[in-house]
């Protein structure tokens, strides 16, 4: 029944290294020196966004047929990890944008792909994914935003919240109900490409613990008219399928961010513990600190391997909902634990806003919530285990 077309590219190690090298140079030169300031001012990194456009990141996973780079999930995950080691927030700016693009690429009509993807790929049009509503996130089928067809348009009313890139973006993959009475509920759901215009406004910027710099917003739709040609796939009732179809990749991405934060916390701890001395020796020679470093490093490796495994399965077109769930669960918890341990290792400096550690500590928990909470991941894993191992 699905119109999904997956062009999943092969992936090439030497090319990965070149790509990561270019990204590391950018991070070193143009990102690292500015992170603390932008983070603490909660300022949108406009210049870095322009550099990300030049780098080609907004088209990273969009197929080369539509002007993107067509990178594999494996390569893409490495990029996300590398950037998250420096400033996780940046990855959100192109990540939810690419999930919107993936919805068009996998489920859109050929006409929609040709119209939208090249502009998404250059970053000329940037945006994100608008699923969550004030009273439902996990239970997406309970959404209330409503689209009613009127001639060659749909008229949309409702509220979305927590939408990443909500202020700075200009177009969103918007999940709505086209038939609120449908049973099962998901059959009444549809997804639209919703560019900003009359009837579509940002009501407020949401303040948050971490994930600074990137804008999270509440979006309000009041008699917002969208052309019927913006209905992804051209057929009503596939919205839920479109939304969950991107979840595996979304989970791999969030997991990759978790690996980045966990790695950063480890690297800074390894360095700091060699410099900081107490009782006449560097603290890395105290067993209490060694126990932490040992666990932190092991978590990083395990998380990275889980992400790689899920990404590889995804690239091969294999089923990977359980694998992506495990990667997401483990890597996000690794980020939380490592950032906490890094704070302990850094003592008072870990709590200081002049260091990066407190940022990792504030950013990490988001990885446990976004793209399906970790509670849901555990449930998915357990259900899969039972399904794949019937007695």
């Amino acid at each position: 029944m699905s119109t999904a077309v997956d062009t999943r590219p092969v992936h090439d190690e030497a090319e990965d290294e070149q790509i990561l090298d270019a990204i590391r140079k950018w991070l070193e030169r143009d990102v690292k020196p500015h992170v603390l300031e932008l983070e603490h001012k909660d300022e949108y990194p406009q210049k870095m966004v322009e550099q990300m456009m030049e780098l080609g990141l907004f088209g990273a996973s969009i197929s080369a047929d539509y002007g993107g780079l067509g990178l594999s999930a494996t390569t893409y995950a490495k990029i996300v990890t590398t950037i998250s080691e420096v400033w996780m927030s940046l990855t959100g700016i192109f990540n939810s944008h690419l999930i919107m693009a993936a919805a068009v690429q996998r489920f859109g009509t050929e006409e929609q792909k040709r119209k939208w993807l090249p502009k998404f790929a250059t970053g000329e049009i940037r945006g994100g994914l608008a699923l969550t509503e004030p009273d439902c996130g996990t239970d997406l089928q309970a959404i209330r935003t409503r689209a009613v067809r009127q001639g060659d348009h749909y008229v949309i009313n409702g509220t979305k919240t927590w939408i990443s890139n909500g202020i700075k973006g200009s177009c969103y993959a918007l999940l709505v109900k086209t038939d609120p009475e449908a049973q099962p509920r998901h059959k009444g759901m549809s997804m639209f490409l919703a560019p900003k215009g009359p009837g579509f406004r940002v009501s407020r910027k949401l303040e948050k613990l971490g994930y600074k710099g990137i804008d999270s917003a509440e979006l309000i739709f009041e008699d917002y008219k969208v052309p019927a040609e913006n209905l992804i796939g051209g057929v009503e009732g596939r919205g839920f399928h479109n939304a969950v179809g991107g979840l595996e990749l979304g989970r791999i991405n969030v997991a990759a961010r978790g690996v980045g934060i966990a790695n950063a916390a480890l690297k800074e701890s390894v360095a700091y513990s060699q410099i900081r001395k107490t009782m006449g020796k560097p603290i890395c020679q105290h067993q209490a600190i060694q126990l932490k470093l040992g666990d932190m490093a092991t978590r990083c490796e395990a998380a990275r391997l889980l992400v790689e495994q899920a990404a590889r399965a995804y690239d091969k077109g294999e089923r990977c909902d359980m694998e992506a769930g495990m990667a997401k669960l483990f890597a996000s918890e690794a980020a939380v634990e490592n950032s906490m341990e890094a704070m302990r290792i850094h003592g008072g400096y870990g709590y200081s806003k002049e260091f990066n550690i407190e940022r990792y500590y504030r950013d990490a928990p988001l990885m446990c919530i976004g793209e399906g909470t970790n509670e849901m991941q555990r449930i998915i894993i357990a259900r899969q285990l039972v399904e794949r191992n019937p007695v």
Binding site: A14, E15, E17, Q18, I19, D21, A22, I23, K25, W26, R29, E54, L55, G56, L57, G59, A60, A64, L69, L71
Partner: protein
Amino acid sequence: MKIMVPIKRVVDYNVKIRVKADGTGVDLNNVKMSMNPFDEIAVEEAIRLKEAGSATEIVAVSIGPQQAQETIRTALAMGADRGILIKTDTDAEPLTVAKLLKALCAEEKPGLVILGKQAIDNDCNQTGQMLAALLQWPQGTFASKLALSSGKLAVTREVDGGLQTVELNLPAIVTTDLRLNEPRYASLPNIMKAKKKPIDEKTPEALGIDTAPRLKTLKVVEPPKRQSGVKVKTVGELVDKLRNEVGII
């Protein structure tokens, strides 16, 4: 005008190198390799000359093992047009490199060769000068600024005590200093496009150059560990230590 840019694959500048236990050299196992930073500056300068309309083609050349091809790919992704790999597994000495490049210049006939002033692995600082001597071309070493006008190249050089500007007739040899420019990083689309740019492979034998080393490395050792300093309370104490303990005044 065609610009030739020789580039060397070296241990990445971020890597803390280790000497092999048997003292025969530096341990290269699992060590990240990159383009010599001075050569990146050379590539960047060539690209800028091309962007300014002063050059028509940039040829990146590397002498080394098969993996040096990856270093050439980086230059191609930055903006060089094509690559030449002179394949050799012996660690070519500066004179050998200069001879190979001379032979290549005879084939390629570049109007300008831009090299790094030195490679960060052995810090020789010889190849550019040797190449200029072999070709009998003018040279502008340690360049911090290049200006090309009416067929002449003005090279501002960083010398002890200041800057010196020399004017060179072309073809010429330039070696880059750190302040010449800030090299760009390749964009991802350009990395993908670079895969389609051609890289020719040649051998030293085909160019008629003997690569056998003339120097023999006897031993490689780590520099002595720096001792931590001492704090002195007065100038008098400092002078006393310098005179009586260190013995330098």
